[in-house]
């Protein structure tokens, strides 16, 4: 058989999801919608988790709404990486995706797609938190100034829906 007779099937698996954040992640995302970073304090070890998580792992304590604390929207960069290369295939045609998930509407379940480079993935210790928040720094001006130890402040999106990217990115102070 000629090598050009070997066949390949091109396709995709597209699934509309409605992920349940539950009580704790749900509050954290609700906080972002209101331009607030909420943390959760473990009553046993007193550590403050920001962003939220369902449990304090070491204590195996399940967070409750009353453990919520409000934190400033600024912090210090503990580690970062500047993503320069585009590691992804081209973004799919919305019509292809819409067809793949019909009759669910793509407007109701927008396509999830990674951000376009360049951007930096940063690990930010929010003031008053004991964990680090993984988020982005964008813009060449910010990327140039970025160092371990840089102070950063949140830049909020105009349109907010209760999604991680309501906090659009951090900018270097």
């Amino acid at each position: 058989m000629d090598s050009n007779q070997y066949r390949v099937l091109e396709g995709n698996i597209s699934v509309p999801y409605r992920w349940t954040p539950g009580d704790i992640y749900g509050r954290f995302l609700g906080g972002l919608k209101e331009k607030k970073i909420l943390g959760f304090r473990c009553p046993e070890c007193k550590k403050v988790y920001a962003p939220a998580t369902d449990i304090c792992t070491a204590c195996y304590y399940g967070f409750k709404p009353e453990d919520q604390v409000e934190l400033p929207d600024a912090g210090v960069v503990k580690s970062f990486t500047v993503v320069r290369a585009n590691l992804w295939p081209p973004k799919p045609d919305p019509e292809v995706v819409a067809k793949a998930i019909a009759p669910t509407k793509l407007e109701d379940h927008p396509l999830l797609w990674p951000p376009a480079p360049p951007y930096a993935l940063v690990s930010v210790k929010i003031e008053g938190a004991d964990t680090e928040f993984i988020h982005m720094v964008k813009g060449e001006r910010n990327l140039g100034k970025l160092k371990v130890g840089s102070k950063v402040k949140a830049v909020w999106a105009e349109q907010r829906e209760g999604y991680l990217l309501d906090l659009d990115h951090f900018e270097v102070a």
């Binding site: 698996i13 699934v15 509309p16 349940t20 449990i55 070491a58 195996y60």
Partner: protein
């Protein structure tokens, strides 16, 4: 053969749409209940056998990476087993082997799924089919089981009512199970028969619901058991077998791989006549007809005799070998947890902790799991005695 192992604690979540509960919280709920059941803490757990079904259900690849810490697996040995619908059974068997091998003394097996995270679980089930041959016209699991059910009906000449009757028996049993999802007061044959035909010969009543649930079991080595509980469920036999998809002479109504699994497990447990010796069975009957097919598979009767066994009422709650006192998978199917629910229910029965669904004096029980393209089966046999 290895060390003796017992189940000392079982934790279940309700089967329903957990709209207020994230995936980590759901798993944590099952695990905390299992720990409370046997009076242990998360610090006692030495290793975790984690199970969850296909990634495309929740869109989370390697879910154990995210969820193991919610199961108390922080800085502990954790691995994930994934065998499709059998995964709960496979994870439980993994938990058994972790202890029986002598590697660990106290092991948590946990498995679950949150099927309501996706717009339809059938998308995930549909991707089980080969992309080149089969995915073009699949309709998830129901259509495949419809093929199996019709083959069984036509091969042995059973009419449609048998499936409905099996469904009704399970739904009535489910009324006693606080964790079941489908609990319909006064459920009867007429109600079931009037439901719409979804995949001929399967009506809505022949099918399982879509649930969110997690289940956890704690496996403990022989010498630790008595300190923890005086009502353990000893693991008497385990087996997990596989067949294939396109193998020659395949007959969908004759699950030879399940018979093989049963033979292996019965040999370990010293069971010669399962119909007489077993006190209760929990079968993974995600679709009504499978209840009858699995009777034959686990050797309660010959091939083709499942319906006749059902006619005798032996497997009713009042019979000598009740099947699915919990209502089975027909009344609650989260897929990831479902096979573990079967094992956990079987264990609870011999522990005497099954509450309103308890089969009085149950000493020997069997929990079953089914998965893949009707080709993977898991079996665990539990005894109140070693």
């Amino acid at each position: 053969m290895g060390r003796r192992v017992a189940v000392v604690g079982v934790g279940m979540t309700e089967n329903k749409s957990h709209w207020d509960c994230s995936m980590p919280a759901l798993y944590r709920l099952a695990v905390t209940r299992a720990l409370a059941d046997c009076g242990l803490t998360h610090k006692d757990i030495q290793a975790v056998s984690f199970g969850q079904s296909p990634e495309y259900f929740e869109g989370i690849n390697h879910p154990e990476k995210w969820l193991a810490e919610a199961c108390g697996g922080y800085l502990k040995p954790v691995f994930r087993i994934h065998t499709g619908g059998t995964v709960g059974g496979s994870a439980a068997i993994g938990g058994y082997y972790l202890v029986a091998s002598g590697m660990f003394d106290v092991v948590l097996a946990v498995s679950g799924n949150k099927l309501n995270e996706t717009a339809s679980a059938q998308i995930g089930l549909g991707t089980v089919y080969d992309p080149i041959i089969g995915r073009q016209f699949n309709t998830g699991a129901p259509s495949a089981v419809a093929l199996q059910s019709l083959r069984y009906m036509s091969k042995y000449g059973y009419n449609e009512d048998y499936g409905i009757r099996a469904a009704v028996q399970n739904r009535q049993n489910a009324m006693n199970n606080p964790y079941a999802q489908l609990k319909i007061p006064g459920y009867n044959f007429e109600m079931a028969k009037s439901t719409p035909m979804l995949c001929y010969p399967l009506r809505l009543a022949d099918m399982c619901p879509t649930s969110d649930a997690a289940c956890a079991m704690i496996f403990v080595a022989e010498d630790r058991v008595r300190k923890i509980t005086d009502r353990p469920a000893w693991v008497r036999g385990t087996a997990a077998t596989a067949a294939g998809v396109y193998y020659a002479d395949r007959d969908w109504a004759v699950p030879i791989e399940l018979r093989k699994a049963a033979e292996i497990a019965y040999k370990q447990a010293g069971i010669k006549d399962p119909l007489k010796e077993l006190d209760v069975v929990e079968l993974y009957n995600a679709f009504s007809w499978q209840e009858l097919v699995w009777y034959e598979g686990i050797g309660l009767c010959d091939w083709g005799e499942g319906g006749k066994l059902f006619d005798k009422g032996i497997t009713a709650m009042t019979g000598s070998l009740p099947s699915n006192p919990s209502g089975g998978t027909l009344c609650a199917n989260s897929i990831g947890a479902a096979a573990m629910f079967r094992k956990a229910e079987a264990a609870l029965q011999v522990m005497g902790k099954a509450g309103a669904r308890q089969v009085q004096g149950a000493k020997l029980s069997l929990g079953h799991g089914w998965g893949g393209a009707i080709q993977f089966h898991t079996i665990m046999v539990f005894g109140s005695e070693k």
